[in-house]
């Protein structure tokens, strides 16, 4: 430090005044820069919430957790609180990015943020969160966040609490959940098995209902009835067969047609008349046959053909001219009614025979079926017993599992409610501006102070780098020579040269 005067304070004050412009500029610059920085920087808001990590002792006692109300229980409660709180600080916030991502998404802080910028946002949010490691009274956890937007700050804290509470509940009731899940899986399996067995029993019953012991007797009766029916059918069949044979024999012996006289027909040579007569005759015969026989009787069919032919001839004759009269003499034959009666009987007997044979065949099939069923009864009986045993066993297990599952669900829900009651938001977050007026004033005042310090440092540096001689002490110190005279610096004249006031006037003398 340069020595200007006797005291160090004089030296420093002299230094300040010597570099006063530097100080003024630095102070002004510091003030302007600090003011600009303080003025333009975004305001930060701090929101803080308090989470209670223990439940109500009275409630704990009521639900049987009386141990926590005792002194030893308090230690357990404290340990529980520490465990819950440490999960947030040591596990979910630092190690599980999806947890923070959910908080950010639910708080809607990521609106307008691109997917590739999300990691940076997550890092920013993680850094903004502050969780106090120390619990207040062993049970309260303080979480705060410093953020530019007060609404987002509160939302982030609220969503953090919500996710924290949810995850805490899930973690604390993890064993209950696991037990319940396992029971559900077992119940589902045995329920399906029981249903399958029930279906199998029903199917067995449906397929083999006749083998039900209560219907076994009926089955035997039916078997006997079928046998009797067969005998009866066989008897009927034989009887019909005999009748048919007799009828066929008689039919062979009976002529089909008999003479019926001679008809002399004097017909007019008008073909139309003859054709009409023929037609009339054929129609009459047809009517007679139709009255006697079925339409499918061959005689009827033949007669029908004749009638049609006569009709055709009549139609043709209508187009022809009258021709000379001709006399036709014909020997008329008529159908033997007896033959036709026999033939009709024959047909009936044949039909009856066929039907009887069919009936007999059906009864035989039924008999076979009954006999087969009766033969299988012992094996099916054992199957029936086994099926019933399996169904009963499976139903029993299912019943037990259902009861245990219900208990597990109740226990899980109860524990979830208990744990939920142990993680409460004691103080809701409220964002407050971080910069108080006093702090702002301090920040504004920081500028000139920093400027002063910087200027002082620069002035010291300037003094250190200045190797000129300014004081007699320095001259003697550095040059080792005495200072014979110290002449002060004179100010230059204002307005150019002028006469010294009262100075000796120049005198011109030789």
């Amino acid at each position: 430090m340069r020595i200007y005067g006797a005291s160090p304070l004089f030296n420093y004050v002299e230094l300040v005044f010597r570099c006063k412009r530097l100080f003024i500029v630095a102070i002004l610059l510091g003030t302007v820069i600090t003011s600009a920085v303080v003025f333009t920087r975004p305001s930060l808001y701090k929101a803080q919430m308090m989470v209670a990590l223990v439940g109500n002792p009275e409630v704990d006692q009521a639900i049987g957790k009386a141990g926590k109300a005792t002194k030893g229980g308090k230690m357990v409660a404290a340990a529980d609180s520490i465990r819950k709180a440490s999960r947030l600080t040591n596990i979910w916030l630092p190690r599980h990015p999806e947890f923070l991502k959910e908080v950010i998404t639910l708080a809607e802080v990521n609106k307008g943020v691109k997917e590739e910028d999300m990691p940076a946002l997550e890092a920013k949010v993680r850094k903004a969160f502050k969780v106090d490691k120390q619990l207040l009274n062993g049970q309260y956890m303080t979480v705060s966040i410093t953020w530019a937007d007060p609404v987002q700050a509160e939302n982030l804290l609220n969503q953090l609490y919500a996710r924290f509470a949810e995850k805490t509940v899930n973690d604390e009731t993890f064993l209950d959940t696991t037990k319940r899940t396992q029971l559900e899986s077992d119940f589902t399996k045995y329920d399906r098995e029981a249903n399958d067995l029930a279906a199998k029993k029903m199917r067995f019953t449906r397929e083999n209902y006749n083998y039900n012991p209560t219907t076994y007797t009926a089955l035997l009766g039916q078997l006997e009835a079928a046998k009797e029916e067969i005998i009866r059918q066989q008897t009927d069949l034989s009887e019909v067969g005999v009748r048919l044979a007799r009828t066929k024999k008689l039919l062979l012996e009976t002529p089909k047609t008999i003479p019926g006289g001679q008809d002399t027909e004097s017909t007019i040579d008008d073909p139309k008349i003859k054709a009409a007569q023929d037609l009339d005759r054929e129609k009459k015969q047809l009517e007679a046959l139709q009255a006697r026989y079925q339409p499918s009787h061959p005689a009827v069919i033949e007669q029908l053909k004749k009638t049609e032919a006569a009709q055709a001839a009549f139609d043709l004759a209508k187009t022809q001219k009258a021709e000379p009269v001709t006399k036709i003499e014909r020997t008329r034959t008529v159908i033997n009614d007896q033959w036709y009666e026999l033939d009709k009987n024959r047909v009936q007997y044949e039909i009856q025979l066929n039907a009887q044979e069919d009936r007999l065949k059906n009864v035989r099939a039924t008999l076979d079926k009954y006999e087969e069923r009766v033969s299988k009864i012992p094996e099916l009986q054992s199957q029936w017993v086994r099926i019933n045993a399996d169904v009963a066993f499976t139903n029993n297990i299912r019943q037990q599992l259902r009861a245990r599952l219900a208990d597990a669900r109740i226990a899980e829900e109860r524990n979830k409610l208990i744990v939920k009651g142990e993680v409460k938001q004691a103080i809701a977050p409220k964002a407050e501006r971080q910069d108080t007026s006093a702090k702002l004033m301090l920040l504004y005042a920081l500028g000139p102070i920093l400027g002063l310090v910087v200027a002082f440092c620069f002035s010291l540096l300037a003094e250190a780098l200045d190797h000129t001689l300014r004081t007699p002490v320095e001259v003697e110190k550095f040059l080792g020579k005495p200072v014979l005279a110290v002449l002060p610096k004179m100010q230059p004249a204002k307005g150019g040269k002028k006469a010294l006031p009262g100075a000796n006037k120049p005198s011109i003398s030789s």
Partner: protein, 245 residues
């Protein structure tokens, strides 16, 4: 603080007026004051006393006023020292302009072109008395350079230089030489053998100490009587200096 000097017109051959000297006194003869006492005259008086202490009463004392570099104020100091010695004592003082490379003193004293020391050293002027200028003070004479020398390095090694100084010694008690700066030119170094003492003028806050040290070494530390610190200033206002006095 007094105003700057006024240089009046001086006719050729006339006595150099006292007002030409840059004493910087005010109308009452007081310069910058410190504690009611005139500062500048006291400093020159102190300088005079120091030189006087170094000198021998029976012998002329030749003191050279020089500096390390140009612009330190050596001409002013030489002028005022010579004037102070002449004013404060009966001793005969001769102020010699030995700066052969410029007309600083001539222009300060507003002297017209006339033969000077250079003419004598070059041989164009034989009589030394022709170049000596008298002043209003009877015991103060001035020997101007006259003109710029063509070869100052040769002149300072001229045997006539010794004769000039010897001649001046005989008629004066003090000879004050306004010299050239030490480091830019070698004139002062060469001339230092003719001098009884050298006073180094240093401008405060301008000349680095290393430069001054080199100048002292160049002249010879034993020759240097001391330092005149010129242009000292304090930035602290006077009202604040009172608290530290």
């Amino acid at each position: 603080m007094p105003d700057s000097k006024q240089y009046d017109e001086v006719e050729v051959g006339k006595l150099v007026p006292l007002s030409s000297f840059d004493f910087r006194f005010d109308q009452n003869g007081n310069g910058a004051k410190k504690n009611g006492k005139a500062l500048i005259p006291e400093e020159y008086a102190r300088l005079h006393a120091d030189i006087e202490r170094a000198s021998s009463p029976s012998r002329c004392f030749v003191v050279g006023i020089t500096s390390a570099v140009y612009g330190e104020g050596k001409t002013t100091v030489a002028l005022n020292l010579a004037g102070t010695i002449a004013q404060n004592s009966e001793q005969r003082v001769s102020l010699v302009d030995f700066n052969l490379r410029n007309w600083d003193m001539q222009s300060r004293l507003n002297l017209p072109p006339a033969p000077g020391l250079v003419d004598v050293l070059e041989g164009s002027e034989d009589d030394l008395t022709n170049i000596i200028q008298r002043t209003e003070l009877d015991n103060l004479t001035i020997v101007p350079a006259g003109r710029a020398a063509a070869n100052p390095s040769r002149l300072v090694r001229s045997p006539r230089l010794g004769e000039v100084i010897s001649t001046l010694r005989m008629s004066n008690d003090f000879i004050v030489l306004d010299m050239a700066p030490v480091l830019p030119v070698a004139d002062t170094k060469t001339m230092s053998r003719h001098l009884d003492g050298v006073v180094m003028v240093v401008r405060a806050g301008v000349t680095p100490r290393e430069i001054v040290g080199r100048a002292i070494d160049a002249v010879g530390a034993d020759k240097v009587l001391g330092i005149v610190l010129n242009g000292v200033e304090t930035a602290m206002p006077k009202w604040l200096q009172r608290y530290f006095s």
